[in-house]
């Protein structure tokens, strides 16, 4: 038991500080992905909700692809493919600069693609929960389309989509673990380095699992608070 505590301590002897840095990377990655995923997901939902068939179809292709591919594969496609593609394009244009897609950015892009396609479904079903009269009411008050969307629809939409989005956030937190495979030093990667060096795989992978569990518990209680806050205006019936 004492040995395990030494291994987990902070400082020269222990791996505590290394793993803590990994946790920071995990949380940063998830938080950095969230806004992109939400905004893209919302735009995709708008496209799916539009009356223009071509726009609907384009949005549906997007979600079909990124919901159907394994997340790990999406990650590899972005990590290797986008870099090769970008550099080919730049070369074609005759410039001699090169882009580097590092593993953090690759992870962020891949996870945003996946998150946004699932989030678009959450937003879409929330849209269906808002009666059409809400739009009409907005227009009748003289609000522009943009104002109606921003001031009338969006607040209700967020409230309706919140439970589904909360679930997606929990999934996102877990999926960040995949970036450890393309070399980003997140919680899982730091733990597996520690496991290899110390030959204590059970201890360190167990710790990694517990860390993710704690992150999930913190998120759940945070989400519950946000949900309560979002419903504060609801009349009790």
């Amino acid at each position: 038991m004492n040995e395990a505590l030494t291994l987990l301590s902070f400082g020269d002897q222990g791996w505590g500080d290394t793993i803590a840095r990994g946790v920071l990377v995990t949380v940063t990655l998830a938080l950095a992905t969230l806004p992109f995923g939400l905004v893209i997901g919302f735009v995709i939902a708008l496209a799916k909700n539009s009356s223009e068939p071509s726009l609907k179809l384009a949005a549906n292709i997007y979600t079909t692809i990124f919901r159907g591919l394994p997340e790990l594969l999406t990650l590899f496609l972005v990590y290797f493919g986008v870099q090769i593609g970008l550099n080919e394009l730049v070369k074609l244009a005759g410039y001699d600069i090169y882009f580097e897609v590092n593993s953090f950015v690759a992870g962020m892009v891949a996870l945003s693609l996946v998150f946004s396609s699932f989030a678009s479904e959450a937003f879409l079903s929330a849209f269906r929960g808002i009666p059409h009269g809400q739009f009409e009411g907005g227009y009748a008050l003289g609000l522009s389309r943009f104002q109606t969307m921003l001031l009338v629809i969006l607040p209700q939409l967020i409230r309706l989509a919140l439970p589904a989005l909360g679930n997606l956030w929990l999934i996102l937190l877990k999926e960040t673990a995949l970036v450890s495979i393309i070399g980003l030093e997140d919680t899982l990667r730091e733990s597996s380095i520690a496991a290899r060096v110390t030959k204590e795989p059970f201890l360190f992978f167990g710790i990694a699992c517990l860390i993710y569990l704690v992150l999930a518990i913190i998120s759940s209680s945070g989400l519950a608070r946000i949900e309560r806050w979002s419903k504060r205006g609801e009349v009790r019936r």
Binding site: F80, A93, G94, D96, Y98, I182, G183
Partner: protein, 258 residues
């Protein structure tokens, strides 16, 4: 017709812009793995050490260029070169036909044979395909050793690992019965506490097509100039004794090979 002419003009302009760019090699970025002791590895505080690293530093000194090291996972090291994350790979990469399709190589800078290591109490008799029938054989993926096992040892049950660290973990706990890797890499590992479990069963006769003529420095195909610079510098350090000095720092025998 007008469209065609305009397109031709555009292509010509692009070609001029592209061709006018001559690369300036005052600074070279070297890619390496950092997980393949004694050739290249990372110390606890993140310093790169090893034979490859010292050779690279000697070459840079000889070429009078500034060198910067970049570490990359082995699986992604050739894509990384192609994508421009670094300009040369000095990471014990064997010169093979398959790799030559994608990148160019300098002359070899060392050549050591592959070998098979087994647990000390192993009952495996020899290193032939028949001896290894049905045993679980570990190797690092994307290496000449894994290709060798696939082609020459088809009766063994090959397991591929991303880095040597994982196969070391699995042979220590008995999940695999043998590993194949470079003889120097294996000997170096067996000399540590970590490798106390195992012994070398025997070396393998390299196959020129699979194992190639030795380890070379990989360069992008379009960077012929850098390749020539590297080859000259390599010849120079071989001639002036610098190579031998580095060789003797790490090994008790000559790794340059015949």
């Amino acid at each position: 017709m007008r469209v065609l002419r305009m397109a031709a003009a555009a292509v010509a302009i692009l070609a001029v812009v592209g061709g006018a760019e001559a690369k300036d090699w005052s600074k070279v970025r070297i890619g390496t793995e950092g997980a393949y002791p004694p050739f290249n590895s990372l110390t606890a505080d993140g310093q790169l050490i090893g034979f490859d690293v010292d050779i690279a530093k000697a070459l840079c000194e000889e070429m009078k260029v500034e060198c910067e090291f970049v570490t990359s996972d082995w699986d992604g090291i050739i894509p990384g070169l192609q994508a421009g994350k670094f300009d040369a790979i000095i990471a014990s990469m064997s010169i093979t036909e398959e790799r030559k399709q994608k990148v160019d190589f300098t002359n070899k800078y060392y050549n050591t044979p592959p070998a098979i290591a087994v647990p000390k109490d192993s009952k495996i008799a020899g290193t032939s395909d028949a001896d290894l029938k049905g045993i679980a054989l570990g190797a690092q993926s994307s290496t000449t050793h894994s290709n060798y096992a696939e082609e020459k040892l088809p009766s063994a049950d090959l397991k591929l690992y991303p880095t040597p660290d994982e196969y070391k973990l699995d042979i220590a706990n008995g999940r695999i019965d043998a590993v194949v890797d470079d003889v120097v890499v294996l000997s170096d590992w067996l000399a540590t506490d970590d490798g106390a479990c195992c012994k070398i069963l025997g070396t393998l006769t390299p196959d020129l097509v699979i194992n190639g003529e030795g380890a070379g420095i990989a360069i992008r195909k379009e960077d012929g100039e850098l390749k020539d610079m590297m080859n000259e510098a390599l010849a120079a350090i071989l001639a002036n004794g610098k190579y031998k000095e580095i060789n003797d720092k790490y090994f008790t025998f000559d790794v340059y090979g015949g």
